[in-house]
Subunit: 236 residues, 2 copies
Amino acid sequence: MTTGTTPKKDYNSNDRFLFAVDCIVFGVSGNKLQLLVFEREVEPLAGEWSLLGSFIEKNESTADAASRVLLELTGLDNIYMEQLHCFATPDRDPGGRVVSVAYWSLIKINQNDREFNVDNHKARWVSIDEMPGLILDHGEMVNMAIKRLRERARFYPVGFELVPREFTLRQLLSVYEAIFDHKIDDRNFRKKILKSGLLTPLDKKDKTTSRKGSFLYEFNKGTYRQLQDKGYNFEF
Amino acid sequence: MTTGTTPKKDYNSNDRFLFAVDCIVFGVSGNKLQLLVFEREVEPLAGEWSLLGSFIEKNESTADAASRVLLELTGLDNIYMEQLHCFATPDRDPGGRVVSVAYWSLIKINQNDREFNVDNHKARWVSIDEMPGLILDHGEMVNMAIKRLRERARFYPVGFELVPREFTLRQLLSVYEAIFDHKIDDRNFRKKILKSGLLTPLDKKDKTTSRKGSFLYEFNKGTYRQLQDKGYNFEF
DNA sequence: ACAAAAGTGTTCAGAGTACACCCATGT
DNA sequence: ACATGGGTGTACTCTGAACACTTTTGT
């Protein structure tokens, strides 16, 4: 039926494109999922809100570039990060034919908010309920990333990436409430999450939020790795 | 802590890369998941097995390019297709700095195997158990695609993409056995899949596989669309 | 003593799992 | 009549979901 299915691979005669990454950075605070957005300081579109991105350098991969952007931003190099999607419609950037690979990442706001001064750099956490309009297709990227995050969080233990190393059950519950954007039953949550084996109870209490104090847990990497392969139902 | 987080966006001074798509095409036959592989006819690496791909043209998106490749191959333009991942390590292609976006797709082998003559085009269906070595990082792409397919198939109704428009329960069961690579209990499968509301029973029987004949079903698009958002557990 | 958050158990309904026999038909 | 694949039902277990009160302790 068809004629030629020979791969078109001519390394000399083909078009070359500019190539960038954009980073979608999520955190949780105040029971809401937050997004880190930036005010662009350069043309085109200076003054408008966008994600943070960068062109890819000659000898780096997209993952390297995204890590570089996150490192410059937060000073941290062990941030949870996944590739989201490659955005490549010809007219997505009026500045030229630019292909962008979006990465999404999760950071622990409480742990790191001193590491970078958001205001000085014209960066701001916004609740995803109050997200401003973003340039180009960045809004589309964010929506896809939210969807992907929720998908991951349903069956894989990514909730832990949004919580400090030592955390209380209520903190973890808040994170899941923020991700899924609905109230979760306290007792059922405790029962299920404790049964999963993902939590190691510590002999300490966090007394900052109540007089009684609430027990701290840390999170069990061994069980984590098992569940990353098999999956686990984190719907509450 | 950090200093400059200004997006590095200079449209003139940055490197430009070649940009390609590669297509991972799955089908099911003989109770096994099959992959469509090609023998390359051009240098570099002529004579070796690879996925089918193409460079991106100036005014097309990656999705357009992948659809174009699939259309040239199968003559069909309504193939189920998802972006897999953007592969962009600097040294992945010895022929130059080529970034490749991989797409995976599902086709109904029985329905279409006459539409393209696989042998004439040096293309071949291979069981994923007997996959030959593939050039470059194509093996890695396929492994990631298998993982992604299984993930999708667990919670979304993609199994239907691998079955003709009218199909028997046994055919559908075989598809799921192939995807997950394990035996599925016949009775429990029927019970669950019929309860899901995804199937519309037809008043016809397929008599090609038994004397008694087995009822044909078609698949309910309305329910399908609901389940695509909510997800549904297709583990059997 | 009281305010504020932490912690705890039970019941019920629905889903998953394991498992073995009869049915319809063409030859 | 028989061989071949198609079709069916039940009992048990486990998980999810709904739901309200007691505990601790600093002030």
